[in-house]
């Protein structure tokens, strides 16, 4: 038999068939030609005649025409499942090719749809990546859900969540059957002298297995060994990536080299990776190097360590929590003093997820933001659904013909979903890119101490989330157009002739419903953002109880070796504050431990002279601040009774204290505390003054806890804040403070944390302000998207109604009447959206009530204002189409048909 291959391939050449398809077609045709030839030869024809006759039946044009039609059909109408590929996805390749061709042909539509989805996905990916790296997968931590923070509470003292003592730590550390690894940390500062000015380096003193407990590995060198965590042997340091980069320019040979910290040589043993930042402020880690007795029973209620514990394999969180209860019970049932105090103060050790401890405060703001980006994505989907519906009117003819040709409806529906998925996939890809940029910039503008040090990588879970969000969006925005096709009546479509097939009215109704939903969602976001904004503004106006204007602050940390006596420390602080007070432009200067909006300060129990404690009463408790005499004038804290500290309140004189009005009311109700004596430690201290209460940590949440002040001249401390009040620019005082410290101590001491007090106060609202900024951004996004959606629907409707408008104008309708015709249609949709949005906002506001400070969750002004903004913006979006309608030429319009 002749070889037909060449001949057949020549005929198939113009078709772009896949290689397998080509072979299959050629094989079938060759067989056919063989059979035909054989039959002709059997009938008496010569071989050549038979060949020509057989080939004559394979007309090239006919073959191409028929094949092309089949290929086109299979692209439009993917194969129904066959035995060999019985799946929903058969023929998907053809669908994809066809859809991408369609999308390429409408670049305007495709770009807008992809960008709209990209915006929604970007916002969601960004927020989720933050949630992911805060709560789900904190970077640098292995199996973060198995890592617990060990905390202590004193129910009776209203201390609900504080650090633990070394004794508590030892109890947990030795429970190997429950915790596979336990580590403790105490923040510290080192003076590092390398340049002309000493520099303060924030550090952490850690037990040797700190890194192992987190499951973190160094990128250079090693971490600590147990033998390095003992007194005298702890002169090793592990560098953070930041310190390695900043201080040593990423020196690859840094391991083994030494650095001078507080005048002593420390050997660098390792460098941690960029993503390990626990605790986040720490630039270096040094072994705590404590003697074994420090972990003994005497330190039981001396809490100053943060501890983390990793659950042993197979131990659940509930089991570990129950075990912490057992440990607490063991202490409380003792008959010694510790046992009694534990019982009377209702002391106990408890566990909480590590991420919850660090970022628990961000949970609610992030949930609010997550909810709002969810709304933004829904609005984006509604907009794209609207676009697709509008586009489907342009394609109605094509769809009608395809249905008439026998294309199955479910194939067309699948086609719509393929189109949605393709748009969503592109949108997701672009969105992830945008999210990376957004997170990078968001962490830059984020307030210190919240997420500014956050590394929020796009890891596998973030990718999965974004893809899932993208696909869910595809289903959402593909749904409306798909339902329209599924519900369309073929005969009516044919009857409408594709001009306005698939019931343009129905489609317009669905688009209007989508816009109503968008407007509703946008209002919810606007009201939420408005309430939080108002709450923020009101909170910012709250007085912290002192005057923060014109106050500059800094901090110093004295080297323990150089300042080993109270006299030396006091001489330093006296020299610095006197020097500062004598400078021109400075009205008052002071040093203080426990200054408001600083992270120093402590709290403890005390006794009141002449008062016996009832059984089970743990005794009075208060926060403590230790200040020099100029402190109250420097911060303008009002005196309520008695006197401020004076220069006479020094070592050797009678120990004195000042209490705030909360403490006075709490423990001396209806009495005068002036002259009364209190005791912490050995000595009785006389109360000489009562001052106003000051808010110490956040304008948004005052602890309401009483405060006792002691003179720094009587109780010395190696670390303190410096405070100056000036009539000049506070920032300009930074140099003055540095100079004063240098003149009191030319060698060792670095001044750090220099910033105006007003900045500290404002920073306490930083996370809140950041969340409100983000919320406002998302609400604005939602508002604009809803306005665009409305514009689209109204524009389309104006085009649809051109003829009607023309008739009305021909019959004498005035310009204003025509514009009103359009505007009123838009107004109806907006008002329906506002009604839905208001109802939803009221429900949500009730849920958020506890987060709203200084403003009612149902603040009528905010609700009304946001409704007004929404109505104004959305109606403005309708103005253009309305004007276009008013400019319709009646003659042209009548011919519009």
């Amino acid at each position: 038999m002749p070889d037909w291959k060449q001949e057949i391939e020549r005929r198939l050449a113009p078709m772009r068939l896949s290689p397998t398809r080509k072979v299959s077609v050629a094989e079938k045709l060759a067989q056919h030609l063989d059979d035909h030839c054989r039959e002709l030869i059997g009938g008496g024809a010569s071989a050549e005649e038979a060949r020509s006759a057989a080939l004559a039946g394979l007309d090239r044009d006919e073959l191409l025409r028929e094949l092309q039609q089949v290929e086109r059909e299979s692209a439009w109408e993917p194969a129904t499942p066959t035995a060999s590929n019985m799946s929903l996805f058969s023929g998907l390749g053809g669908d994809l090719r066809y859809t991408s061709r369609i999308l390429r042909k409408a670049p305007g539509f495709s770009t807008i749809a992809v960008l709209t989805i990209a915006i929604g996905i970007a916002a969601n990916t960004a927020i989720f990546s933050i949630i992911n790296s805060l709560f789900l997968h904190p970077p640098g931590v292995t199996d973060s859900d198995r890592l617990m923070a060990v905390r202590v509470k004193y129910q009776k003292l209203n201390l609900k969540n504080i650090s633990i003592s070394l004794t508590d730590f030892a109890d947990v550390r030795d429970s190997k059957q429950v915790f596979s690894s336990t580590a403790a940390m105490q923040p510290a500062n080192f003076n590092y002298a390398a340049g002309p000015l000493p520099e303060r380096i924030p550090a952490s003193l850690v037990t040797w297995n700190w890194f192992d407990t987190f499951g973190a590995r160094p990128i250079l060198g090693r971490t600590f060994t147990q033998s390095e965590d003992v007194p005298g042997a702890n002169h090793e340091v592990v560098l953070s990536y930041t310190a390695w980069q900043r201080l040593f320019g990423k020196d690859q040979a840094i391991v083994g080299k030494s650095m001078l910290l507080n005048g002593q040589s420390y050997r660098v043993v390792g460098v941690m990776d960029r993503d390990f930042n626990w605790p986040s402020q720490s630039e270096i880690w040094v072994p705590v190097g404590l003697a074994a007795k420090e972990y003994g029973p005497d330190n039981r209620f001396n809490e100053s360590y943060d501890a983390v514990a990793r659950l042993a394999p197979g131990v659940s969180r509930q089991q570990a929590e129950a075990y912490a209860g057992v440990l607490s019970q063991r202490v409380a049932t003792n008959s010694d003093d510790y046992g009694r105090y534990a019982r009377s103060s209702q002391w106990s050790i408890f566990l909480m997820p590590f991420s919850e401890l660090i970022y628990g405060g961000l949970r609610m703001p992030l949930l609010v933001l997550a909810g709002s980006v969810g709304c933004v994505l829904l609005i984006c989907c509604a907009n794209v659904a609207g676009l697709m519906l509008a586009k489907s009117s342009g394609r109605a003819k094509e769809l009608t013909i395809r249905i008439a040709l026998g294309a199955r409806r479910r194939h067309l529906v699948r086609q719509i979903f393929v189109e949605s998925v393709l748009i969503a996939a592109c949108g997701t890809a672009v969105g992830i890119g945008l999210a990376v940029l957004a997170v990078r910039n968001a962490t830059l503008i984020a307030p210190e101490g919240s997420i500014s040090s956050l590394v929020a990588p796009i890891d596998r879970s973030v990718l999965l989330f974004s893809i899932a969000a993208g696909m869910a969006s595809a289903l959402l925005f593909g749904l409306a157009p798909a339902l329209m096709i599924a519900a369309a009546k073929t005969f009516e479509m044919l009857k409408e002739g594709g001009r306005s097939a698939m019931s343009s009215k129905g489609r317009q109704r669905v688009r209007s419903a989508l816009v109503v939903g968008e407007v509703g969602l946008a209002l919810v976001l606007l009201v939420g953002a408005g309430l939080f904004l108002k709450s923020l503004i009101r909170t910012q106006q709250l007085s912290p109880g002192f005057d923060s204007r014109g106050v500059m602050t800094g901090a110093v940390s004295l080297d323990a070796k150089a300042y080993d006596s109270p006299e030396r420390r006091q001489a330093f602080f006296t020299a610095v504050t006197q020097n500062l007070a004598a400078q021109p432009g400075i009205d008052a200067a002071a040093a203080a431990v426990g200054m408001p909006f600083s992270d120093m300060g402590s709290a403890s129990s005390f006794a009141i002279e002449g008062r016996l404690l009832a059984p089970g009463d743990p005794g009075p408790h208060s926060d403590i601040a230790v200040t020099t005499s100029g402190y109250f004038r420097a911060l303008s804290v009002p005196l309520r009774a008695g006197r401020y500290f004076t220069g006479q309140d020094r070592l050797g004189a009678e120990p004195v204290a000042i209490i705030d009005e909360i403490l006075a009311k709490q423990y001396w109700p209806g009495q005068d505390p002036l002259g009364a004596r209190i005791k912490r430690g050995k000595d009785w201290t006389r109360i000489v003054g009562i001052v106003a209460h000051v808010n110490r940590s956040s304008l948004a949440a005052d602890t309401g806890k009483g405060l006792a002040y002691y003179p720094l001249e009587q109780i010395s401390n190696p670390e303190a804040n410096l405070v100056v009040r000036t009539s000049a620019d506070p920032v300009a005082m930074a140099a003055t403070i540095r100079a004063a410290v240098k003149s009191a101590d030319p060698s060792n001491t670095a001044v750090y944390d220099l910033k105006p007090m007003s900045e500290r106060v404002a920073a306490s609202l930083g996370p809140r302000r950041f969340a409100v900024t983000m919320l406002l951004a998302f609400a604005t996004m939602a508002l604009l998207l809803a306005a665009i959606g409305l514009y689209g629907v109204i524009s389309y409707s104006v085009v649809q109604r051109t003829q009607e408008i023309g008739v009305r104008m021909a019959l004498g309708a005035r310009l204003a009447q025509v514009m009103w015709l359009v505007l009123s249609q838009s107004l109806r949709m907006v008002l329906a959206g506002v009604a839905i949005g208001l109802a939803a906002s009221l429900v949500l506001a009730r849920l958020l009530q506890s987060e709203l400070i200084q403003v009612s969750a149902f603040d009528p002004l905010t609700f009304a204002g946001m409704c007004a903004v929404l109505v104004a913006v959305t109606l403005a979006a309708t103005y253009l189409p309305a004007r276009r309608a008013a400019k319709v030429d009646p003659m042209l319009a009548l011919r519009h048909e």
Binding site: V25, E27, K28, L29, A30, Q31, H32, L33, D34, D35, H36, G57, L58, D59, R60, E62, L63, E66, L67, Q69, V70, E73, S74, E77, A79, T80, P81, T82, A83, G91
Partner: protein, 114 residues
Amino acid sequence: MANQPSVSELKKGSAEFLILSLVEARPRHGYEIGKMIETRSSGDLHFNAASLYPLLYRLEQRWWIEGRWVEKANQRKRRYYRITATGRKILREKRSTWQAFVTAVNRVTGVENA
């Protein structure tokens, strides 16, 4: 003459019906199908390879028929087509529609009584 529909036009509309009928009883290969159409219609209906194979492919794509390659010694492999369950259902529908159509046309045109 000009107003009379050509056989080829009528054929196009009924091609699927014809093929389904032929593979209903047993699997057949393409040439056999073409040949049977020609012989059973006494030569009135004829399908070229150029139109027959795309048509078979289309029916396969719709999962009305199922094709399978069969190899025999010293022969090219052949594709045999057999009807699927969907194909049977379609064939039943087409038969009854055709029956109804023919009856209706005959009633109208009086061919039946002639």
